[in-house]
């Protein structure tokens, strides 16, 4: 028996304009390339990580027009004209974003490979729900896998962020 053979796709490219962290990038991309790959390789921002490339681990989460989205499942061409925010877009000259600061204070991460996804999901979560309960935090973050921490320190980090951002402490 032998394996089936498939012929390769022709190598045409499409022009896209990606808005990443407020900077516009005009790129020619192979239409099948994922948004994650283009952000990492063409835009050169490697803070967005790939843990599974099949939409489960959440490490690749970016904000696309404000919504947490899996950059491994999106094609770069789908993001034409979309405002993308990655982990590199959170801190400002004034310092870390409160969510970053809070995760630092709470010692949330270990290897931190998962951290870009958790940070982006948390930013979106606290924008939509500034004072989540612990159960809400856990539910909202259940689309992000972390293998190191057992999550408690990450949940602490979100709660710390609530405080830093002026919500009530939980």
């Amino acid at each position: 028996m032998s394996q089936p053979s498939v012929s390769a796709a022709p190598g045409e490219t499409i022009a896209v304009n990606l808005q990443v962290n407020g900077t516009s990038h005009s790129l020619e991309v192979d239409p099948r390339r994922s948004l994650a790959d283009v952000i990492r390789e063409d835009v050169g921002l490697t803070g967005t990580h790939l843990g599974c490339e099949h939409g489960v681990c959440g490490a690749c989460t970016v904000l696309a027009d404000g919504e947490p989205s899996r950059a491994c499942l999106m094609l770069a061409v789908q993001a034409d004209g979309v405002e993308i925010t990655t982990i590199e877009g959170l801190a400002t000259d004034a310092g870390m974003h409160p969510v970053q600061q809070a995760m630092h204070d709470a010692m949330s991460f270990q290897c931190a490979f998962c951290s870009p996804g958790f940070l982006m999901s948390t930013v979106a979560l606290l924008r939509d729900n500034p004072e989540p309960t612990e159960a809400e935090i856990r539910e909202e973050l259940s689309g992000n896998l972390c293998r190191c921490t057992g999550y408690q320190s990450i949940v602490d980090g979100v709660e710390t962020a609530v405080q830093l951002m002026g919500g009530k402490s939980s």
């Binding site: 921002l45 843990g51 870390m96 010692m107 270990q110 290897c111 057992g150 408690q152």
Partner: protein, 857 residues
């Protein structure tokens, strides 16, 4: 909450013991970590492996012509091509009675598991490389596959390895005390079999390797997700040796400088290690050579090649996204990619994808234990017999698993309980599955089986789990021997009883009764499970010689401290951090020793050209006790040297020198202090040096004292919904003693992460092969890593027993995972009123055990 976390800036009060925030975060939290896939080397080519879709098959032919023609493809290597330029994996660590089949970096005539690599595409991009995979035609001829321990044990089935006896690679027995006597004398003998299915480490970052070839010299810079870069360096160097033994030896003989340096080093080594070398157990090599004499020829060729080589690869590990043991071994892909790059003379990288990681990135713990316990009616344990079987998969992990796992069972199985006699027979079997690697507490199933068995014995005798443990646990001053029956010596750090007693104080048994009744009222069942264990972290001096005589040769820890001519303090560790916060904790330790701020200390790791050799790298929960120990000792030594020079400069006595925040001064007159830069500058000027350190101290650290035990008692409460089989863990308590804590935030994180993996193992995760060794769990849709919804808050109580000696911190990386499966399955047994004998308990299985649904046959 994290309010106790500190930004402490001054060295005056000490950093060790404080919940100091992580310095690693400064790069990670802003997306500036440098993981293997982030390195972005100039001109790097990308590799992808063609892998077998069959569990067991002959390869009749392979055709890579079409793939090679695809634009952008640089080269397609067949398995045979890469095997022709590499040496095979030969057993590095073995045991009498075991045969380890040799294997090459690729498969060329036969595949032995789903995902077995048969060809390697090197192309300009990963997309193109993966396109080319589709064009490779392989003609496979299906063979019967061995998909389970039962099938492997059955005689007459298709063999994976011709030279083996069936599919059993070895069997070995160890006996301690008079086992027959113990079994004859005891009131009764209780026997039960326990099964643990396959699991996987599953770090969030997969494996990867980027081999950068220097176009002029051919030198290889190998960037790797490696827990043990030094071992990987030498293993790859050896496997890439091409010259014959004779040619290498002739070359070595001609190089008189190299020859005399080697002979001098060898003489020193032998002189320093004579005793240990004399103890070395060579019976494993004897049984290996009986089965496969070619092992010796390969060994000689690689050894001679290493002697003759003019250059060795450099291995570098930057940031690593978790490993849990899986990135310790040297894998076939490492050798294949290094060989491909070296053959092409071009840089090549391979980043494993998640599916590959689930196929062969590291699997663990598929083991079976039949335990017989000889016990008196009052619950006093007398003897233990264990028949253990470990399913190693097709290719033996390199360098240590699985033989080491079996040897660790031998040492650990009786646990912290007194016994008169113990015997264990371990079998290692081979099946058509992925590679077994060490997984966080690789031996941990001894704790699971033992603690489960204790509950079972208690039930049979009409005792409670608490009673049987109380009667048998080793107690300091009462029933604590000087050594375990299996060899390792004990001191006060083996404080399991303390953790057990403390745990009992923290359980409200009356409340438990009420909670159980309440759960029943809701159609649920609630139960409580207890489990205790001890762990050599790093263990007493005779620990490794108890595992296998002579192996303690490899377990010291090297480290180095330097002060540059500008006063910069650099600490060089041979550890390879991948989440354990080494940078933070070593800065804490060194800053305290030097009397400087943490930011004044630089930690250097992961580069084999800059750090000293370490066989293990990061593993075995050694980062705190051994890695931290050598940081402390070298720093202390250098500080003394600095104080001497400073005392001269300040015209004072050394005893009066004080250092706070880097201000070196006579005690009481900080205003007239000098800096490390001043002292280093003086030394540099006096000795007229510019590009070497002003101060340098390297050490080999062997740990301290007789103890070095980390111990814990875990208590789990589980609540099972009898309608859905869903589990909740309303409370999980760890009472642990890893000695004085360097950074509580880090230690707590390690404990919780380990427990989380234990929860995953019991309720969610399974590397599921069917009877024909087809892998059913090839994505995260099937291999269920638990989320924030499944892992509860974990309560941790620290005991911090001190012992004699410096740097008494003990290891904490593995313990969480060692205790959790036992505590959880004990809790399930208590909840359902059945004695569970398997480790994997997904909802359907819980409902079967509860009698709610009919078991599948």
């Amino acid at each position: 909450m994290s309010s106790a976390t500190t930004d402490r800036q001054s060295s005056g009060l000490g950093f060790v013991g404080q919940r100091v925030k992580r310095v690693e975060d400064e790069r990670f939290l802003v997306g500036e970590g440098k993981f293997i896939a982030d390195l972005n080397h100039e001109g790097m080519l990308h590799a992808a492996f063609a892998r077998s879709p069959f569990a067991h098959a002959k390869i009749n032919s392979i055709d890579v012509a079409a793939a090679s023609r695809l634009p952008g493809v640089v080269k397609v290597f067949t398995g045979a091509e890469l095997n022709a330029v590499t040496n095979p994996f030969i057993p590095f660590f073995t045991v009498g009675g075991l045969y380890t089949p040799l294997y090459s970096c690729m498969s060329d005539d036969r595949v032995r598991h789903i995902g077995d690599p048969v060809a390697l595409v090197v192309a300009e991009s990963r997309y193109i490389a993966e396109d080319a995979l589709e064009l490779i035609e392989v003609d496979y001829e299906d063979l019967e596959a061995i998909g389970s321990i039962d099938a492997a044990l059955k005689p007459g089935r298709t063999q994976l390895w011709e030279k083996a006896d069936g599919n059993v690679l070895g069997e070995f027995t160890d006996t301690f005390g008079d086992v027959d006597e113990a079994f004859n004398q005891a009131d009764r003998v209780i026997t039960k079999t326990f099964d643990c299915p396959r699991q996987s480490n599953q770090p969030m970052e997969t494996r990867g390797i980027a081999v950068v070839v220097d176009p002029t010299t051919g030198h290889l810079d190998i960037h790797s997700t490696s827990q043990a870069p030094h071992f990987k360096k030498w293993a790859i160097a050896a496997m890439l040796v091409k010259d014959s033994t004779a040619a290498s030896l002739a070359k070595f003989a001609r190089n008189s400088e190299r020859r005399s340096a080697f002979l001098a080093a060898a003489k020193d080594f032998v002189a320093a290690n004579k005793e240990k070398m004399a103890q070395q157990d060579n019976s494993g090599m004897v049984s290996q050579l009986k089965k496969d004499p070619s092992t010796m020829l390969h060994q000689l060729r690689m050894g001679a090649g290493l002697l003759a080589a003019d250059d060795y690869p450099t291995v570098m590990a930057a940031d690593i996204g978790g490993a849990f043991g899986s990135k310790g071994p040297v894998a076939r892909e490492d050798v294949a990619v290094a060989a491909a790059a070296s053959e092409l003379g071009r840089s090549v990288q391979w980043i494993e994808d998640r599916v590959e990681n689930l196929l062969d990135g590291g699997q663990a713990r598929e083991e079976r234990f039949t335990m017989s316990v000889a016990v008196d009616n009052d619950g006093m344990l007398k003897g233990l017999r264990v028949d253990a079987v470990l399913d190693q998969g097709a290719y033996t992990g390199f360098p240590v698993a699985p033989a080491l796992i079996a040897l660790l069972w031998k040492v650990y199985f009786p646990g912290p309980y007194n016994l008169d006699a113990f015997e264990i027979t371990s079998k290692i079997v081979t099946t058509n599955k992925g590679r077994v690697v060490p997984y966080r507490g690789p031996w941990a199933n001894e704790t699971w089986a033992r603690e489960r068995m204790l509950d079972l014995v208690a039930a049979e005798l009409g005792l409670t789990p608490v009673e049987i443990r109380s009667r048998n646990v080793m107690r300091e001053g009462v029933s604590m021997p000087d050594a375990f029956i299996t060899g390792p010596t004990i001191d006060e750090t083996m404080s399991v009883a303390k953790t057990f007693d403390r745990a009992l104080e923290m359980i409200d048994f009356d409340q438990l009764k009420r909670d159980k009744a309440d759960a029943e009222g809701r159609g649920h069942r609630l139960g409580l499970g207890i489990a205790s264990y001890h762990e050599a972290a790093p263990g007493p001096p005779n620990f490794f010689s108890s595992v296998q005589p002579g192996t303690d040769l490899f377990v010291y820890e090297d480290g180095r401290a330097e002060i540059g001519t500008d006063g910069t303090i650099r600490m060089f560790t041979s550890q390879s951090p991948h989440g354990q916060s080494h940078q933070t904790t070593y800065k804490q330790v060194a800053a305290d020793e030097f009397g400087v701020k943490m930011e004044d200390v630089e930690i250097v790791w992961g580069d084999t050209d800059r750090t000293q050799f370490s066989f293990l790298g990061t593993g075995g929960s050694r980062g705190g006790p051994m890695g931290g120990g050598v940081m402390r000792m070298t720093a202390r030594e250098l500080r003394q040297q600095v104080e001497k020079v400073a005392a001269d400069m300040l015209e004072a006595s050394v005893d009066d020198i004080d250092i706070i925040d880097g201000n070196i001064h006579v005690a009481g007159v900080p205003s007239r202090g000098i800096s490390y830069a001043d002292v280093a500058g003086k030394v540099a000027a006096d000795r007229n040096i510019t590009d070497e350190p002003a101060f340098m101290e390297a050490m080999k650290y062997e740990g301290v004292g007789n103890g070095g035990w980390s111990v814990a008692t875990h208590v789990a409460w589980v609540d099972i919904d009898l309608e859905t089989g869903e589990v909740e863990i309303p409370r999980y308590l760890v009472v642990e003693d890893c000695g004085p804590i360097i950074n509580p935030g880090v230690v707590d994180g390690q404990v919780r992460g380990g427990v989380a993996q234990g929860i995953g193992a019991v309720f969610y995760e399974r590397t599921h092969y069917d009877d024909n060794a087809n892998l059913m769990s090839t994505t995260y849709m099937d291999y269920l890593v638990p989320t924030a919804m499944e892992i509860p808050n974990i309560e941790i109580e620290h005991m911090e027993t001190l012992t004699e000696g410096e740097n008494d911190a003990r290891g904490t990386g593995e313990g969480g995972m060692i205790g959790a499966p036992a505590a959880l399955t004990n809790a399930v047994s208590d909840a359902l009123g059945v004695q569970v004998t398997e480790q994997y308990l997904p909802p359907y299985r819980l409902l079967e055990l509860a009698g709610v649904i009919e078991p599948e046959k």
